[in-house]
């Protein structure tokens, strides 16, 4: 099918983008188009206006600012996946990118567009919760920061107001010695997750400190598993502990039922993936 008609603009600076977003009725940002255009082709989305940000200079950065990695609205999946800054500072992000879409989609799609689309089976929203990223959100009236925990409010829903744009994601570099792991099961590699699990933890005197566990594909939105984190804290890593954590995790989720993957199967996947990610994270922790 073909998209419905829309007004098109291609501003070359951010203030104009934000002004158009405020002034135009039912306007949407066009970033990589890898989620928005399929929805428009199906006419699930029929925005009255598209504001194409692809020619706004200076939005495609991936850079260190002190201990924080800042990623701009036009940084594409492919560039983040290959970025040495990401690889050396947030290796779990490079690892998780193995699971995100296919190369032609990653060549266009952006991290920020991916987060705004907020598919519950998408990898990066879960990872942003794991990393406790800050979302920098701008409108014509000013700027605010929203923690990832408050940004993802439901299936395809975020805390963004209609006149707001996500301009940057800020991720604090994980502490030295942090162990990490991201694993997923999907129908084919590059498809959305049936279940994905991510873990980060540190070891202090042989005991797990500051564990973080997040899941995707198994609820209305990606989420942290607080109950699992509570069980792990202060314990020595062991297969028994991870099995208990896995059961707790499976009990804490309410996964969707789809023809390809039942809710029970998704729970099984979480029970299987959680011990795997936790034991690899513990091995990698120093």
């Amino acid at each position: 099918m073909k998209p419905a008609k829309f007004e098109y603009s291609r501003p070359d600076d951010l203030p104009t983008v934000l002004a158009l977003l405020a002034d135009q009725e039912d306007a949407r940002i066009l970033a990589g188009g890898q989620s928005l255009v399929p929805m428009m082709n199906f006419r699930i989305a029929q925005p009255a206006a598209l504001i194409d940000i692809n020619r706004v200079p200076g939005l495609d950065y991936i850079r260190m600012e002190g201990d924080v990695i800042a990623i701009g609205a036009l940084a594409r999946h492919a560039d983040i996946q290959r970025s040495p800054v990401i690889q050396s500072n947030i290796p779990i992000m490079t690892e998780a990118y193995d699971w995100v879409a296919h190369s032609a989609v990653r060549n266009r799609g952006t991290l920020c567009g991916n987060l705004c689309h907020a598919d519950p089976a998408s990898e990066m929203p879960a990872l942003m919760q794991l990393l406790e990223a800050q979302m920098v959100v701008a409108s014509h009236t000013g700027q605010r920061e929203v923690p990832a925990a408050d940004f993802f409010t439901g299936t395809y829903e975020t805390a963004l107001e209609p006149d707001e744009m996500l301009t940057e994601v800020r991720i604090a570099k994980p502490a030295a010695g942090t162990g990490w792991r991201f694993e997923e099961v999907s129908m084919r590699k590059g498809d959305f997750a049936w279940a994905a699990c991510a873990a980060m933890l540190r070891l202090e005197a042989g005991q797990i400190a500051m564990p973080r566990v997040a899941v995707a594909g198994v609820g209305d939105a990606p989420m942290r598993l607080d109950a699992v984190e509570a069980i792990l804290t202060g314990q020595a890593p062991s297969e028994d502990l991870f099995q208990t954590a896995a059961q707790t995790g499976a009990d804490a989720i309410d996964p969707p039922e789809t023809p390809a993957a039942s809710a029970a199967y998704r729970k099984d996947l979480v029970r299987t993936l959680l011990p795997r990610v936790l034991s690899t994270a513990a091995e990698r922790a120093e």
Binding site: K5, F6, Y8, R10, G33, H102, R108, K189
Partner: protein, 162 residues
């Protein structure tokens, strides 16, 4: 909305046209530029048969609007080779890398992007590069053989690049 003027380079030729914003790049290539070698399978990003090279990168032409390509350099399957088959196409022919041929233009775009950056890919890397291209005839093993063989041909033709 009014049509917008675009000017771009397609297979080495400058083309200018007036397009409505909602016109997909795939339709622009096929219907306005009369280059039907770019195939449209799903029109929602899943099959990869519409892949073309935009500024050297393989992208889904069904997920871009033609207006977005103003000033871009585009290579479609018609721009491979110079009236003759290029080494990647030759390898597909020799290795039976196609059956019905529907997925082939998109496969070749993905293969070309891979080989432009990686003259000696492993089978794993080849599989990853074409993971977003569906072949309904399911001749994947032959396609992988073809890309491996194309890499060898290109290395032999230009030993400095290998």
């Amino acid at each position: 909305m009014d049509k917008i003027e675009v000017s771009l380079t397609v297979n080495g030729r400058t083309r200018a046209a007036l397009v409505s914003p909602r016109m997909l790049l795939s339709d622009f290539i096929r219907h306005e530029l009369a280059l039907p070698g770019t195939h449209v399978g799903c029109e929602h990003g899943v099959c990869g048969s519409c892949n073309v090279l935009v500024d050297g990168k393989a992208v889904r032409s069904c997920l871009m609007f033609a207006v977005q390509t103003d000033g871009a350099q585009i290579t479609t399957i018609e721009g491979f080779g110079d009236g003759d088959l290029d080494p990647i196409q030759t390898a597909f022919w020799e290795e039976h890398g196609l059956q019905c041929g529907f997925c082939t233009p998109g496969m070749l775009a993905s293969a070309k992007e891979l080989l432009d950056h990686n003259p000696d890919p492993s089978d794993e890397e080849i599989r990853e590069a074409i993971s977003g291209n569906l072949c309904r005839c399911t001749g994947y093993e032959y396609i992988i053989n073809a890309i491996r063989s194309a890499a060898a041909k290109l290395r032999a033709a230009d030993p400095a690049a290998a």
